[in-house]
């Protein structure tokens, strides 16, 4: 799956669990927590959404990698790469 597809899907997941965030205003590199009061429940919801969408299990230890949009996409790519599917 192309990096660009992953990014659009991850962004869609993020706005789904946090509809009160304006997508255009997201700075991909910055921690979501700092930009939008993204608390532990939001992060759990984000992890659940990604785990379901990409059918990958995410150990708690990896949560920190989902802290910003860019790192989240990279994490997904990495996890998908590792178990690449046609």
């Amino acid at each position: 799956m192309e990096a660009r597809d992953i990014r659009t899907r991850v962004l869609a997941l993020l706005t789904a669990i946090a509809p009160d965030i304006e997508p255009a205003t997201i700075d991909p590199a910055r921690e979501l927590r700092d930009q939008f009061d993204f608390d532990s429940m939001d992060r759990l919801h984000f992890a659940m959404a990604i785990s379901e969408a990409f059918r990958i299990d995410i150990p708690e230890a990896d949560y920190t990698q989902l802290g910003a949009l860019q790192s989240a996409c990279a994490y997904v790519q990495h996890r998908l790469g590792a178990s690449a599917r046609p």
């Binding site: 669990i17 509809p19 009160d20 700092d34 532990s40 429940m41 379901e52």
Partner: protein
């Protein structure tokens, strides 16, 4: 037979009189209808008549003294008259005409206020002042009424409701600043009206944290718990067991709530705080609670709040989460009587059994209403929370 001769009431609005002159002295005989003394009243000098044939035994009041109606003026010896049934003298204060036997029926507190003609359909109503305030805050009255589920909304209600709905439905910027001061006034009023006292208690969060990590490791993402939930459950159980922290302070007195609904504070994007309630948090297991908590936050984010939920909280928990400072001193959310606050869990030195080690420590603070509870019961409440968190498996 001894008779007490009392100052009679001479007029509808006569309460006192001044004895000016005795017309009889001890030993004198007095016939029925004969004047025995003269008193000065608002209307002038008036003779006081004796209603029995008697002889004067003793004069009790000296001329020149001001006396109330009913005061004993003299003692008389009735000249052999048949003993009249002594009738209970009516004290001036008692409702005049209180007969010996018949008691006047108690005057009812108030005739029942006329019931509104047809009980208005369960449509909630906005007072005119509330309607104008809603307009000022950029809120559509219909939305408010739908939120209020049948209650009458006053200005304070609108301000509290506005704190939620205006935010959740991403209102235009100026409304957000209006929101800011609305929450400000609500907080200021709570601070002013409720006599807060504050207690802090640092606890070793290690046990809870390791238990949680082990619990979550065995489960997929969807079923995992978060630290905030353990705290909410611990507070719920502690509130159920300690008197004076779970309920409301209204009309001048504390109403103990039978159920424990824990308001969990959720920070809104761009400012503001709401605390929808986890209903019956003391009786549900962690799994169910987590499911409800997750659903609650999701709906807050999406702006679909049920008014009953954030009106139902009987106590509130608020936390700064992972990125806050160590200690938080919250303000009580009226009409509740207590709120528990937690700061960030931090690795700090901790002395136990004489040796020092590095532990994940958490400072739990309590702000409570001094009209209902005090420092002693407050610290018992915080210690209960600490003990519960020390045995997370039992939560």
């Amino acid at each position: 037979m001894q008779i007490e001769f009392r100052l009679p009431s001479l007029g509808a609005d006569m309460e006192t009189a001044t004895l000016t002159q005795w017309l009889k002295k001890p030993g004198d005989a007095v016939r029925r209808g004969e004047a025995i003394a003269v008193v000065e009243t608002e209307k002038g000098l008036i003779d006081i008549e004796c209603f029995d044939d008697a002889t004067v035994a003793a004069l009790v009041v000296a001329p020149g003294t001001k006396i109330a109606v009913g005061t004993v003026l003299a003692q008389l010896d009735a000249a052999g008259a048949a003993a009249k049934p002594a009738r209970e003298p009516v004290s001036v204060a008692a409702p005049a005409g209180a007969g010996v036997t018949a008691r006047p029926p108690a005057v009812p507190a108030a005739p029942a206020a006329p019931a509104s003609a047809a009980a208005a359909a369960r449509r909630s109503r906005l007072s005119p002042a509330a309607r104008r305030r809603a307009h000022e805050l950029g809120l559509a009255p219909e939305v408010l009424e739908q939120r209020a589920a049948g209650a009458i909304l006053h200005v304070e209600d609108v301000e509290r409701l506005a704190a939620v709905t205006a935010k959740a439905t991403a209102p235009p910027l100026d409304a957000r600043t209006a929101m800011r001061n609305v929450i400000g006034t609500a907080m200021a009023r709570a601070k002013r009206e409720i006599p807060h006292y504050y207690l802090g208690h640092t606890i070793d969060f290690g046990a809870a944290r390791t238990w949680l990590q082990r619990y979550n490791a065995a489960l997929p993402v969807q079923e995992r718990l978060i630290e905030g939930l353990l705290l909410a459950k611990a507070v719920a159980l502690a509130a159920a067991r300690t008197e004076g922290f779970n309920g409301y302070f209204r009309d001048g007195r504390f109403e103990r709530a039978s159920a424990v609904h824990v308001g969990t504070a959720i920070a809104l994007r761009g400012g503001g705080l709401v605390a929808p309630a986890l209903l019956d948090a003391d009786r549900k297991d962690l799994r169910t609670l987590m499911h409800e908590f997750s659903d609650l936050v999701g709906r807050v984010r999406a702006g679909h709040m049920r008014s009953s939920e954030f009106m139902a909280a009987t106590i509130t928990v608020t936390s700064l989460g992972e990125d806050g400072v160590e200690t938080l001193y919250p303000i009580i959310n009226p009409p509740q009587v207590a709120i528990v606050g937690t700061g960030r869990v931090t690795e700090r030195p901790w002395v136990q059994d004489g040796s020092v080690s590095v532990r994940p420590l958490l400072t739990v603070t309590l702000a409570a209403d001094h009209r209902v509870s005090d420092g002693r019961s407050g610290s018992r409440f915080l210690q209960a929370i600490a003990e519960l968190l020390a045995a997370p498996e039992k939560l």
